[in-house]
């Protein structure tokens, strides 16, 4: 890994057809691990597809897909369970990889009584402290210095945990990106930065985000290595992430990884890309689809067969169907929970407001008292 990445040196292992490139060093990923990764990528793809259809039917308020970007989620695969992940809103794979269940995922989308965050936030703003996945925020970039703080904490507490933080290329324009990267460099924090460069920030193309040759090049300003990797190449993602994680754990400091991928569909269920971009652009990228490439590679290796994929797809479709059915019977959290967790204990103003709300829910003549 070099401090200044030669602009066009893009780390790749597989070609677009999933064949190892001549001379490429293929990372030693255990077969079972590789299969679990493929399994999880399938779940992400199926979940995205089902949830979007649900949203289109008006049964789900909002959703954000990762279609075409799934491989980039698996930078988390080489992490240990005790390592912390600070995700953005487009890394479903990271959640499922750590064991976040289909039911939990769907309960969060519906904000029902079983939602791990008690229906507090919009769909896709998950949080799962039992697997060290940190609460997702809407304001982009805020998680970057937070991840650096957690990495620093691990270091001074004598643990050798690493933190990994995800963000999009558009988010590299925020002040949060800068202060987080800069603190990490100075502190040699055990932190791995994954910039998911999917080419677009809603309607704004990457060319309008920065004049830098690459996003990886921004690492120079922070005295850390910057690596550019084919984000649709699972093997390359694994390789580059493993190196950065080992570096961090060994006390050699942070790394910025630019995962080059593409947002094949709209920004979110509310977005319509046809207004601002050429429909041909996504088509080019569909040829580089990360799942197709991994599938092809695994087939060559004899780690994949049609039947297995069919099973996976049936299994996950069934799980989703069941989870939706279960979610249908779950109501929202009870009204009084609205006041919990603002503070550890309710201060008088919230106690008062809570009592008032409960009482007016009971009476038919609601009225507000001071």
């Amino acid at each position: 890994m070099v401090a200044v990445p030669a602009q066009d040196d893009l780390r790749r292992v597989l070609d677009d057809d999933g064949k190892p490139l001549p001379g490429a060093k293929v990372p030693a990923i255990p077969d079972a691990t590789l299969q679990r990764i493929f399994d999880t990528m399938m779940l992400v793809r199926i979940m995205d597809d089902r949830m979007m259809r649900l949203q289109r039917q008006g049964r789900l308020g909002f959703y954000m897909k990762a279609i075409g970007e799934e491989a980039s989620h698996f930078a988390v695969a080489p992490l240990r369970d005790s390592d912390w992940i600070f995700p953005s809103y487009r890394e479903q794979g990271a959640w499922f990889w750590r064991g976040y269940s289909v039911q939990q995922f769907i309960d969060q989308l519906f904000g029902n009584v079983d939602d791990p965050i008690k229906g507090r936030q919009m769909p896709v703003h998950h949080s799962a402290n039992w697997i060290n996945l940190v609460s997702i925020s809407s304001p982009v970039g805020t998680q970057i210095p937070q991840a650096v703080g957690a990495a620093y904490a691990a270091k001074v507490m004598g643990k050798d945990d690493v933190s990994m933080v995800y963000f999009g290329e558009g988010t590299s324009s925020t002040g949060e990106f800068h202060v987080g990267m800069n603190f990490a460099g100075v502190w040699k924090a055990p932190c791995v930065f994954i910039c998911r460069n999917n080419g677009w920030a809603i309607s704004v193309p990457k060319e309008k985000q920065t004049a830098a040759k690459t996003f990886a090049a921004k690492a120079v300003g922070y005295g850390m290595p910057g690596v550019r990797v084919d984000g649709n190449d699972l093997l390359a993602m694994w390789q580059v992430a493993s190196e950065a994680i080992e570096r961090a754990r060994a006390g050699e400091g942070p790394t910025l990884i630019e995962a080059l991928t593409y947002r094949v569909q709209g920004h979110s269920s509310s977005d319509d890309p046809s207004v601002y971009r050429d429909p041909k652009e996504p088509e080019i990228w569909e040829k580089k689809d990360p799942i197709n490439r991994l599938r092809a590679y695994m087939r060559h290796r004899g780690l994949w067969n049609e039947g297995w994929e069919k099973e996976l797809s049936e299994k996950y479709n069934q799980q989703i169907t069941d989870a939706l059915a279960a979610a249908d019977h779950k109501g929202p959290p009870s009204v009084e929970t609205m006041f919990d967790d603002v503070y550890e204990e309710l201060p008088w103003n919230l106690r008062e407001q809570r009592e008032w709300l409960l009482q007016q829910a009971r009476t038919k003549n609601p009225h507000h008292h001071g």
Binding site: R120, M122, S138, P139, V140, S203, M338, P366
Partner: protein, 326 residues
């Protein structure tokens, strides 16, 4: 007269002023080719080009910081912050720079920047697509704060803002961006800043109900229900929050002796508190009852319980009954 919704009225105001004044530029995230995530700037990119309708990098501090520099040099920037909830990365540029530039330079450097941003809940937006941050900016000397509740006011006030020389935070009620429709003159007109609108004012009004932005529609609904219940309520739509129209408020409260303030933001230290403080300082002897507040609760804005969180007509009517029965 054409009927417009708030989005169309805002777009129309921007278009008129950009045609009238070469110095006006629009900048922000997705405001260009896409025309903004709420489409308030759609069409402007094609008409005025990428120099005057600017898709910026993703950085609110950069949007406001550069807008300030543009204004200092002689442009009339109208930056858009995509959601009011995302204005905080630019908070330092707004409260320490934009608001203080004229003053700290002894009047040398006025800073005519009009910041447009959608505010308020009711769109299932949760914590970060629902906030109503007006109180923070009203507490910041040097800023004007404007909060229209309907298309006619939105256009007339936005035009007025773009033609005066102080920085303005222009808050747009996103919940009713499209739902609120009304007749809006195609041509040019302005509404004076600092003047409230008195809705169905009447000599025999029993209660003064004060609201702004998205809550005005709730106030109207409440007034209707009140009338059905035989209670006559006079509604004040403040329209401008800084400076707010103390005279219209006092005239009404001195008449009714009873007042309720309605806002979406959390209660504690919200703008309702200032209205109450200002009124009782000037007219306590007219008050027949305490001034009550119907507001959001002192919690972050919830997702699933949004409906329970938002003030509504029943709650407001309850407060009106309470000041009457007091």
């Amino acid at each position: 007269m054409p009927v417009m919704n708030i989005i169309e009225a805002v777009r129309n105001a921007l278009q008129l002023q950009m045609r009238a004044d070469q110095r006006v530029v629009v900048l922000g995230e997705d405001v260009g080719k896409f025309g903004g995530v709420f489409r308030a700037t759609s069409g402007l990119y094609d008409e005025f080009g990428s120099d005057r309708v600017i898709d910026t990098p993703l950085a609110e501090a950069g949007i406001i910081g550069t807008a300030i520099g543009m204004a200092l040099y002689g442009l009339r920037p109208v930056p858009e912050i995509q959601f009011g909830d995302f204005i905080f990365p630019a908070f330092d540029q707004i409260v320490n720079e934009l608001a203080k530039f004229r003053y700290r330079s002894g009047g040398q450097y006025p800073c005519p920047v009009v910041i447009r941003t959608p505010v308020g809940g009711g769109i299932r937006g949760g914590h970060y697509h629902s906030q109503s941050p007006e109180a923070l900016f009203i507490h910041t000397p040097g800023l004007k704060v404007v909060a229209p509740s309907n298309p006619y006011d939105a256009k007339g006030l936005l035009l007025a803002c773009m033609r005066q020389n102080d920085p303005v935070l222009f808050m747009e009620p996103k919940r009713i961006y499209r739902a609120s429709k009304g007749e809006v003159p195609e041509g040019d007109y302005q509404l004076e800043l600092g003047k409230a609108a008195l809705l169905h004012g009447r000599e025999d009004a029993q209660v003064t109900l004060i609201a702004w932005s998205g809550m005005v529609s709730i106030a109207e609904e409440t007034a209707k229900k009140a009338t059905e219940a035989g209670i006559s309520v006079e509604v004040i739509d403040l329209r401008t929050l800084m400076p707010f129209d103390i005279d219209t408020i006092l005239d009404s409260v001195k008449k009714t002796g009873r007042c309720v303030v309605l806002h979406e933001a959390p209660r504690t230290c919200g703008f309702g508190a200032e209205i109450i403080a200002s009124v009782q300082e000037r007219a306590i002897e007219y008050l027949e009852a305490p001034i009550l507040r119907v507001t959001g609760f002192d919690t972050p804005f919830p997702y699933s319980l949004e409906h329970e969180y938002m003030p509504n007509a029943d709650r407001t009517l309850g407060a009106i009954r309470q000041v009457l029965e007091w």
